[in-house]
Amino acid sequence: MNKTRKIYRQGDLILVEEEGIDTNLAMKEGDILEIASENGNTHKLISPVYSLYGRRYVVVKKPSTLIHPQHPKLVIEPGIYRVEFVRDYALNRSID
């Protein structure tokens, strides 16, 4: 049976669970994930952030809360998550 992949979305920010990411090969960016929305508010998650091959990953070691002033809080289960944003065909790339 296939494993269930956890995906969280808070507004424009999406966290996609990934397996097999070796953070030893990745560059550590910081200890907090902070993503500014277009309206000036910020998504915040206290967990180490890494970058690997142009992608960002956040390593959640214990259940942590993703917060944003305009959205309800979201509890993120432990795991390694790829940081993604909603897509738009006109904008060609994810909104960041």
């Binding site: 969280y8 909603v86 006109a90």
Partner: protein, 313 residues
């Protein structure tokens, strides 16, 4: 003049025919007049016609991976007509090579001589083109009917969450530099630049910030432009509609300009608009939303093999 026809190998070498004043291989070497090429994978019917009229061959030779046959000049019209039929059938049968070849196989049996065959070919091309036009018109009518019904179904959702959509503010611009400048007031530079590029191709487009704005060129008539709501969905956290911008002709959809998801986040009360690939035109609003979230591809197929548990706020 003589008609040279070079038969290639399927999928490897195109078929070609042309007029030349010599019957020898220098005709092919010197690249004579009125060269007509048919892609290799579609060329098989030409081979059938060459076989059918092989008795009329004046000369034959091999050159550059093709077997050439030389015919009298009037065969040029025959091969042009065959090529027209091939490409008409290619559109009609939606590139189904087997159907095209079967159609031509049945047709060639009715050919008795070149003149009669050309006449029949032209009649057949015109008949298939008519069928094709009828099919297109039928498709346009069906799509228009679907959009009108969906508009009725989603009228309440639109009225409640997106009243502006039925009568959006229209911003006119003279050129695309001016449009980009206008968009910078609401969006970041990158987003403004991307919308400008999108407008250059899909004009008129809409954008959403605090309200909905239709962006149209100064001289552009909007009489033939319509925005249809094709589907809608309301949950506890969002309300979305799938909207389609179309150009109309004689009251029916003529060309689809773009497909988008217009929604409102019920937590933040913020409007959002995301364009989705036109390949999703007939899909549900929820599936288009999954494309925006990166969970399905441009055709609506899941991108992840695993089961997915989506938690969103």
């Amino acid at each position: 003049m003589f008609c040279h026809i070079g038969l290639g190998r399927a999928y490897r070498r195109s078929y070609e025919f042309f007029l030349s004043d010599v019957i020898t291989s220098s005709g092919a070497k010197k690249r004579s007049r009125n060269i007509f090429r048919v892609e290799g994978f579609l060329g098989y019917p030409l081979r059938i016609f060459v076989e059918e009229f092989k008795d009329s061959t004046i000369h034959m030779y091999r050159y550059s991976g093709r077997q050439y046959y030389v015919f009298p000049e009037k065969f040029y019209s025959l091969f042009v007509s065959v090529s027209k039929l091939i490409y008409t059938l290619n559109r009609y049968h939606r590139r189904d090579v087997e159907k095209i070849f079967n159609h031509i196989n049945r047709f060639v049996e009715l050919c008795k001589d070149v003149d009669q065959c050309i006449e029949m070919l032209l009649r057949e091309v015109s008949y298939i083109e008519n069928l094709f036009v009828k099919r297109v018109v039928k498709g346009r009518k069906a799509l228009t009917k679907r959009f009108r019904r969906s508009m009725e179904r989603c009228r309440d959702v639109v009225g409640r969450f997106f009243p502006d959509l039925l009568n959006p503010y229209i911003h006119r611009y003279e050129n695309f530099e001016e449009l980009e400048e206008f968009l910078r007031k609401f969006f970041s530079d990158r987003v403004a630049r991307s919308y400008r590029r999108f407008a250059e191709i899909r004009n008129p487009i809409i954008v959403a910030r605090d309200g909905i704005i239709l962006l149209a060129k100064d001289n552009q008539l909007l009489d033939n432009f319509s925005i249809y709501v094709d589907d809608c969905s309301v949950t506890s956290s969002y309300a979305i509609t799938k909207i389609v911008g179309v150009e109309m002709l004689n009251g029916y959809v003529y060309r689809v300009k773009w497909v988008a998801i217009l929604g409102v986040d019920l937590y933040t009360k913020q409007l959002f608009l995301h364009y989705v690939p036109p390949t999703l035109i007939l899909r549900k609003a929820e599936l288009c939303r999954l494309w925006v979230l990166g969970l399905v591809d441009d055709f609506g197929r899941p991108l992840y093999e695993d089961n997915v548990s989506l938690v969103e706020v």
